[in-house]
């Protein structure tokens, strides 16, 4: 067997470089493929994802009543508003709102207001959904932690909270049933 001189003294640089780069690349690709499952396992598992959507039956709600449901580990507020409450929400001038948004954009059907019950200040659960709870100065919701007042559209009106109460993604699956959340 003959050994080429350049293979011994390292003059065959291109071939050796190729082997080094190929080895390094394989290690990098292989490492990434091994690493991904160990990272992805921290993302929500199938049983958690299965609870990404919930169905809520609104039929039992009378005008003026509210209800709470659990959605993705957080409270979901639904209020069947009276005509007076709807009118109150729609007559407000946009310029008086800290986070301006029309009530028409916040409720697919004016009657039913669907909100995430998480104060946009520091995450407390505002009062005002259950009967007898304090509703704040604007007849909507009141956060007891730091005194944020929300109106009958769930918009922030007074207090430290910066934004309106969040409207989750939902769609009507029948006249009185909604499916909240997007499947993931």
């Amino acid at each position: 067997m003959s050994i080429e001189a350049d293979a011994i003294d390292g003059a065959d640089v291109n071939r050796r470089d190729f082997i080094h780069i190929a080895t390094g690349s394989m290690l990098a690709v292989g490492g990434a493929m091994v690493a991904w499952p160990f990272i992805h396992q921290m993302n929500p598992s199938a049983d958690v994802r299965a609870l990404a959507t919930i169905e809520v039956d609104l039929a039992a709600l009378e005008p003026g009543m509210g209800m709470k449901a659990m959605f993705r580990g957080k409270p979901l507020f639904i209020r069947r508003r009276t005509d007076a409450e709807i009118a109150e929400a729609r007559e407000v001038s946009m310029t008086s709102l800290p986070d301006p948004q029309a009530d028409e954009e916040r409720a697919q059907k004016a009657e039913y207001l669907v909100l995430l019950g998480v104060c946009t200040h520091l995450g407390c659960v505002p009062l005002g959904t259950g009967s007898g709870e304090k509703r704040g100065d604007y007849n909507g919701w009141f956060c007891p932690c730091h005194g944020s007042h929300y109106d009958t559209s769930g918009r922030i009106r007074k207090g430290p909270a910066p934004y309106n109460l969040e409207i989750p993604f939902y769609e009507y699956t029948s006249d009185t049933t909604i499916k909240v959340g997007k499947e993931v």
């Binding site: 080895t23 499952p37 160990f38 396992q41 921290m42 598992s45 199938a46």
Partner: protein, 477 residues
């Protein structure tokens, strides 16, 4: 590590750090270019770094599993199924961990046999060897407790059987077992503490591995010829020569490992462990995981409960004193013709013990016919006095003749056949098991000490370089 150490690295940042905390120096001298290694290491020397890789695989997959597992008797089994079905890639991570344990033992067993063959346990590497045996013991404890965590039938009954080993301890045995269980049987407290210990022990293993590598770095690696390194001409730097050789070994290892993880992930496990633990029903055939089988066989070989447990622990304990049992000054089996033969016999015995560990003890292997004396005595007891004396005075070696006596004694044909069946003499699994167990200890306690005195060893080469460079060793043109 001298005081006023001044790093020799060119890079100013590395130099600055290394002068204050010589971690670059440490890595370089442990597994880097600054670590001179015998130049003749063969592929059996890959299994040390492979064992290190296995430990890392177990640590990473293990702490990830702990994120999703619930150590509670009511929820553990379901949480493992949750990992298998719901957690993203949970099945893969669990199969990596379960098969990783088996592969860890494969690698470590080969690593140990390598040490036995090439005499790596002899001076000045006794402490290195003993730390290795300690790691094996820690691994066995860790693996056992890990196997309990899925809380299947094998988990539960394995835990029951193994913890009951300690009941063999005189006087305080039952108290020890109660202490281990945290109750009156294997139950939720047992599971919770096993989970805690299963998480703790790998850190103890890691610490012992660091000591093991440290103890390795003092004398340096042994080598296939077993003779000491005489100087720089006998060594090559660990990096890049052995790092690249280890990487190649790792690639081969991972190919085999992945074949198991992806194509036969349950081949090394037991299907009964997919049945939830039931304290009211023991599975008909309890076997430990395969890597415990030889030790389990040694346990079963001894008819006495306490002595069985003692023998099982002694089978590993004997490894601790091996450096002093071996009286031969020659390390490598290459130059020990007799030891080399006995080594391979010992390998076969270890595999034989493993086979015995999973077989039914009363399975017959070699039939020796029937015990005529016992049959005759049984029949004679039913005969009148004169015929009894005649039969016993002259026991016939023929079953046909015995049967005529049986008929005379009023035995039915079926009863006679049952009697013959009962008195069949065979060499069964338990006999083989005892033979191999005896040989296991004979190998360490008798053969190895004696071989050092009687064996005529082959002449050792002058140095690692000389067998290669001497004219007689040069290949013919």
């Amino acid at each position: 590590m001298a005081h006023n150490y001044q790093s020799k690295y060119q890079n100013p940042v590395i130099n600055w750090i290394d002068t204050r905390l010589p971690i670059f120096w440490l890595v370089d001298t442990a597994v880097g270019a600054g670590h001179p290694t015998p130049k003749n290491l063969n592929y059996w020397w890959n299994f040390g770094s492979l064992a290190g890789l296995c430990l890392v695989i177990q640590l990473i997959s293990g702490f990830v599993l702990a994120m999703h597992y619930t150590p509670h008797a009511d929820m553990a089994f379901a949480s493992v199924e949750h990992i298998m079905r719901d957690v993203n890639y949970g099945w893969r991570i669990r199969y990596i961990h379960a098969n990783g344990a088996s592969f860890f033992f494969v690698v470590v067993f080969i690593h140990i046999f390598r040490g036995l063959y090439y005499g790596s346990y002899k001076a000045p590497r006794e402490l290195l060897w003993m730390l290795g045996v300690t790691i094996l013991l820690l691994m066995m404890a860790t693996a056992f407790m890990g196997y309990v965590l899925p809380w299947g039938q094998m988990s539960f009954w394995g835990a029951t059987v193994i913890t009951n080993l300690f009941s063999a301890v005189p006087f305080v045995g039952d108290s020890i077992v109660t202490l281990l269980w945290g109750g009156f049987s294997v139950d939720n407290p047992t599971l919770a503490r096993f989970f805690s210990l299963h998480y703790l022990l790998p850190f103890v293993i890691t610490g012992t591995v660091i000591l093991h590598v440290w103890a390795l770095n003092m004398p340096g690696s042994n080598n296939p010829s077993g003779i000491d390194v005489k100087g720089p001409q006998d060594t090559i730097p660990f990096h890049p020569y052995y790092t690249i050789k280890d990487v190649f070994g790792i690639a081969v290892f991972l190919a085999v490992f992945c074949a198991f993880v992806f194509f036969m992930p349950n081949a090394l496990g037991h299907p009964d462990n997919y049945i939830p633990a039931d304290p009211l029903a023991t599975p008909s055939h309890i076997v430990p995981e395969w890597y415990f089988l030889p030790f389990y066989a040694i346990l079963r070989a001894v008819p006495d409960k306490l002595l069985g447990v003692v023998a099982m622990f002694a089978s590993i304990g004997v490894l601790f004193v091996l450096p002093w049992l071996d009286t031969s000054p020659v390390r490598s089996a290459t130059f020990r013709p007799l030891y080399k033969k006995f080594f391979w016999i010992f390998i076969v015995v270890c595999f034989g013990l493993g086979w015995c560990g999973q077989a039914d003890t009363d399975m017959p292997l070699i039939p020796f016919g029937e015990d005529e004396q016992a049959i005759a005595e049984n029949i004679a007891a039913r005969l009148p006095a004169d015929s009894r004396a005649e039969l016993l005075a002259n026991v016939p070696g023929d079953l046909k003749v015995l049967e005529t006596y049986a008929t005379r004694a009023g035995m039915s044909e079926a009863a006679f056949e049952r009697l013959v069946e009962k008195e069949k003499v065979t060499f069964d699994v338990l006999h083989l098991n005892r033979l191999l167990t005896a040989y296991y200890f004979f190998h360490f306690l008798v053969l190895i000490p004696l071989l050092g005195w009687f064996e005529k060893t082959r002449p050792l080469p002058e140095s690692l370089s000389s067998p290669v460079l001497s004219p007689s060793a040069m290949p013919a043109e």
